[in-house]
């Protein structure tokens, strides 16, 4: 069976500096991946390459068995979604229009059908933005814009969603709600997620697999249970981590008290 996404021998550099060397990655249905690594290690760049926005210097990306670069734009949007790190409210859109844009790749009509509008409204409901549908997107707060863009991703509903720091700017309650929603909508449905995150505790708790980027071209992939441990991650992240046993499982946290 074809993987949702497969990278073969991927090389990515930035201004002459290698970020990722000879990367092999296979994302299967039902998996949830985290990319962890220090600032500037190429996490966002890798996500853009995997989404087809930037060309790798070498290597191949297959989407359900088809080379990514041979797919027309609409077909790509059908297979892959991407939440960019920086939100963009667009030029003078209402929030509902921003969310409706997620349905573009599947659109058959020039106008918006009642079904499309209902889907967009349902996605807004799921992210707790029901009352903001008619508001200008430019007036949203950072966290609200983030949630509106996640709602757009739900409308797009790709088999694989790539999210660059999806919980950025969300308050604690929203972080938990949104993460639960993403899991239900992508992982439990045998779709897949690939998240850039900074919090190893989050990665440990919700992901099945991890990709660690060192920033010098070296990388490591494997099941989260093997990679996301205090001993393994501390050197990469540059700080000590602590592990706690709780009734719900073990927790991994940054040790703010350590020097």
């Amino acid at each position: 069976m074809n993987a949702l996404l497969e990278a073969r021998g991927l090389h990515i550099g930035h201004q002459g500096r290698p970020l990722v060397r000879d990367l092999h990655l296979r994302i299967e249905p039902g998996q949830c991946w985290a990319i962890l690594g220090p600032n500037g290690a190429g996490k966002s760049t890798l996500l853009r390459v995997l989404a087809g926005l930037t060309h790798p210097s070498d290597g191949e990306i297959l989407v359900q068995g088809t080379p990514l670069h041979t797919l027309p734009a609409r077909a790509r949007a059908y297979h892959l979604g991407l939440l960019l790190q920086q939100g963009n409210p667009g030029l003078h859109n209402r929030v509902l229009e921003l969310v409706l844009a997620g349905g573009y790749a599947r659109k058959h009509h020039w106008w918006d059908t009642p079904e499309e509008i209902a889907t967009a409204r349902a996605a807004l409901d799921e992210l707790g933005l029901t009352t903001l549908a008619g508001q200008a997107a430019e007036t949203l707060s950072g966290g609200e814009l983030r949630r509106a863009e996640i709602a757009r991703l739900l409308v797009q509903d790709p088999p694989l969603a790539l999210l660059d720091e999806p919980l950025n700017q969300l308050d604690i309650g929203q972080q938990v709600t949104v993460m639960g929603l993403l899991r239900r909508r992508f992982v439990d449905t045998r779709h897949a997620l690939l998240l850039v995150v900074h919090d190893p505790g989050l990665a440990r708790h919700i992901t099945t697999h991890c990709l660690l980027l060192q920033g010098d071209g070296a990388w490591e992939t494997g099941p989260t249970t093997e990679l996301v441990t205090t001993q393994h991650l501390a050197p990469l992240l540059g700080h000590a981590l602590r592990e706690f046993d709780t009734p719900g499982g073990s927790l991994l946290a940054i040790d703010w008290a350590a020097d």
């Binding site: 926005l53 003078h92 844009a101 020039w110």
Partner: protein, 326 residues
């Protein structure tokens, strides 16, 4: 169901269209009563007044409408392409290329029949140069394109200055009128309305993609728009519209810049509405400006470009202040 604001807006703009065209037909050096104008529109009697309506006022008003519409649609397209509220049909130097071709032809004494096709070729040649120069490398938000266009426009205006300083004094007024945009020449209502119809249809076809492009080309690409394809279509369509407008009436400023902003302000932000409403409103604005231009200090006719600029500057400043307050 509550009526969408766009529906009311459409009604309003259609009403304004009727009013603007009526004013244009009723105003002029010869006073013709409204009932007479209405009768002469449907019935030819060969009288002087009939010819004033059928051969002067109506063709001129329709030409103005077509050109105003083209400039407004080109402005919408440019503002999306460059993701810049300052985008207007001339920002990439299209009118400069046309002007240099036309002024050089005037200087060499080439007949006025040749000026429109020369203007058209000059505009397209300039656009092609900008496009080829900005082609290299990645340019996700078309910044490179904007800068290339602005520099080209600066180059063209230097050449315009050169031609003007070489021109014999007798030719200068004609050249200046052309530069400022003028509808006093031979009106071409059929051409103007035809190009407007085709251009608006093309822009409407692209409208769903224009909505997505507002989120940035990267985001639009992820949602299923082919950025290269969209960029090429926008450049081609906006430059054809601008070149056609410039070749008929010279470079009339501010309609392309102000109209899209006005329509957005009135409540239409979805490009499926913004494009047709801008076409109508831009047409009306130019019809009204041209009526003013030919009557304000009659019998002297002003170049309409002077009026659109004189009206456009305060309108734009007002829009700007209104934006920063909200």
């Amino acid at each position: 169901m509550r009526p969408r604001p766009e529906h009311l807006l459409t009604l309003g703009v259609v009403f304004i269209t009727l009013v603007a065209l009526s004013i244009a037909l009723l105003t002029g050096s010869v006073a013709i009563p409204a009932t007479e104008v209405a009768r002469l529109l449907v019935q030819d009697d060969g009288s002087i007044t009939d010819r004033i309506i059928d051969q002067l006022r109506l063709p001129r008003a329709l030409t103005a409408f077509g050109i105003g519409g083209m400039l407004a649609v080109a402005g919408v397209l440019m503002q999306v392409l460059l993701r810049n509220p300052l985008g207007d049909p001339y920002v990439l130097g299209v009118s400069g290329g046309a002007a240099v071709a036309v002024l050089a032809a005037m200087l060499m004494g080439i007949g006025s029949l040749w000026l429109p096709p020369l203007a058209f070729s000059g505009a397209l040649a300039s656009m092609l140069m900008v496009f080829l120069l900005a082609q290299r490398g990645e340019d996700p938000d078309n910044r490179r394109l904007l800068l290339t266009g602005i520099v080209m426009a600066a180059g063209w205006s230097a050449l315009i200055g050169l031609v003007l300083s070489l021109a014999p004094p007798l030719q200068l007024p004609g050249m200046l009128f052309w530069l400022m945009g003028d509808l006093g020449g031979a009106p071409r209502p059929g051409l103007a309305l035809g190009v407007l119809a085709v251009g608006t249809a093309g822009a409407l076809w692209l409208a769903p993609q224009l909505n997505l492009a507002g989120f940035g080309m990267a985001q639009a690409a992820v949602l299923g728009v082919d950025p290269r394809h969209l960029r090429h279509s926008l450049l081609l369509l906006s430059s054809l519209l601008t070149a056609a407008a410039v070749s008929i009436a010279g470079a009339i400023g501010f309609i392309g810049l102000v109209t899209p902003h006005l329509v957005r302000l009135l409540g239409a932000t979805d490009h499926r509405w913004l494009v047709p409403l801008s076409a109508l409103l831009g047409g009306n604005l130019l019809v009204l400006a041209d009526t003013l231009a030919r009557t304000l200090i009659a019998p002297v006719q002003l170049p309409v470009g002077v009026l659109t600029a004189l009206l456009g500057v305060p309108i734009f400043l007002w829009l700007l202040n209104r934006d920063s307050r909200s």
